[in-house]
Symmetry: none
Subunit: 250 residues, 2 copies
């Protein structure tokens, strides 16, 4: 499950200014098993109490974050570098979808360190900085207000990376339960039909169509054996209640 740990993922923040953001990103690193948080000329203190509070269980990765004086230095050991861009004035720098950029980042056969760079809260990364990366990605947001908060961008990118790294959790529907046997379902339907005729909910000529509707519902639900038993219990008890009325009121 904890797939990002297998890759050496480094999150690089360039000149982060907000302590709430910084702490939040540290928490996200822990949420997604990121190896290292790297800070390029941070404009706030990683030891600030607000950062620590926001980091929650990411405090260790926050305390161990490394500070660099230049972006180039911060990514010097990473053969695969992806930068994020929210600006529209990136000129001719090619922009990739998150899928293209992140799948490429983790597609290396050998386990190499990967860097994912996020820019300043107010103005992102410069074109010069974008050009240090192998690939640039942009997140699709509303054109009327495209600017995502820094930590939200990190959240989305790490979740995407996690997804491409191997698995999208499959539905748990019916994985651990065996659906009821066809004969069980059929017996239940017959039993229910009999009762519903008895209480005059069904008429002979419409009973088939109505019971088919019920069957379809059970089929869609992949009804389980114990659920059939539960419902047969209801029928049994309803019969008992109907008969009791008869016998106690002779």
């Amino acid at each position: 499950m904890i797939v990002l740990k297998q890759k050496q993922i480094n999150i690089v923040l360039v000149e982060p200014k907000g302590t709430i953001n910084l702490g939040s990103v540290a928490r996200l690193c822990e949420n997604f098993g990121v190896n290292e948080l790297r800070l390029v000329s941070p404009k706030c203190d990683p030891n600030d109490s607000e950062a620590t509070r926001m980091a929650v269980r990411g405090q260790k990765i926050l305390k161990q974050s490394t500070i660099y004086s230049s972006l180039l230095e911060a990514i010097s050991d990473c053969p695969r570098v992806v930068a994020t861009c929210g600006r529209k004035d990136h000129g001719e720098i090619p922009i990739n979808s998150p899928k293209e950029a992140l799948q490429w980042a983790i597609s290396s056969k050998v386990d190499v360190p990967i860097a994912i760079i996020f820019g300043r809260e107010d103005r992102g990364l410069t074109n010069q900085e974008l050009l240090l990366a192998n690939k640039v990605l942009t997140l699709q947001t509303s054109p009327s207000y495209p600017s995502l908060n820094l930590s939200h961008s990190v959240a989305i990118v790490l979740h995407e990376l996690n997804r491409f790294n191997g698995k999208e959790s499959k539905s748990t529907i019916s994985s651990s339960h065996n659906p009821a046997l066809p004969i069980q379902i059929d017996d239940f339907i017959e039993d229910a039909k009999e009762l519903l005729l008895e209480i005059e909910f069904l008429l002979d000529h419409t009973s088939q169509a109505r019971m088919n509707k019920l069957k379809m519902l059970l089929q869609r639900a992949e009804v389980r054996s114990e659920e059939i038993q539960l419902m047969r219990g209801v029928i049994r008890q309803a019969r008992w209640a109907l008969n009791k009325k008869d016998s106690t009121n002779p």
Copy 2:
């Protein structure tokens, strides 16, 4: 590009406590063109200055957020409801991947309001609350620290929704049928419970657990409005039959 605007997306927060989170979620709503922010019994003030500051250009959606006293009420007009779950103790409630749940949410042919529910910062949504949704999704994170910050969960889910909304959305089970409204299902369950207590199938202390099993079955089946009506017809008729026995045997 601004795809979410075409769908009526409502973000529902249950008992949010943190003003940073609340403001951040309002900003995200604006980032992804969400229609409405709904708050169920919020534990903090949407007009708090920190919330306003974090909302940035999402201040309008924050000010216009609607407050509800119950979750059921907050989603009463939404035929498609997805809840998020980070807990592992959700029992047998089926869990979907974000893809399965969100593609389903937006796969309706007609434009119906969609609700996406997020729980409390510290303990998420209760199982009872999860059972009000048509589908429950979980975000995959590191098993050693799975707990995402509330606004980060919202960021990831809205980005995913945006992603699926851009493409052809493959239907899961029943894109052409709208499931019953949560309130319809809830009313039916209450009605059925009453009858089952009356015929002594249920005992007071076990009724909740047994009715939950039935709810899960209906949730898995994506039960439809007309099916709920059919089953309520059964209950009505059963009551009539029970009473008839009384009155014809004085």
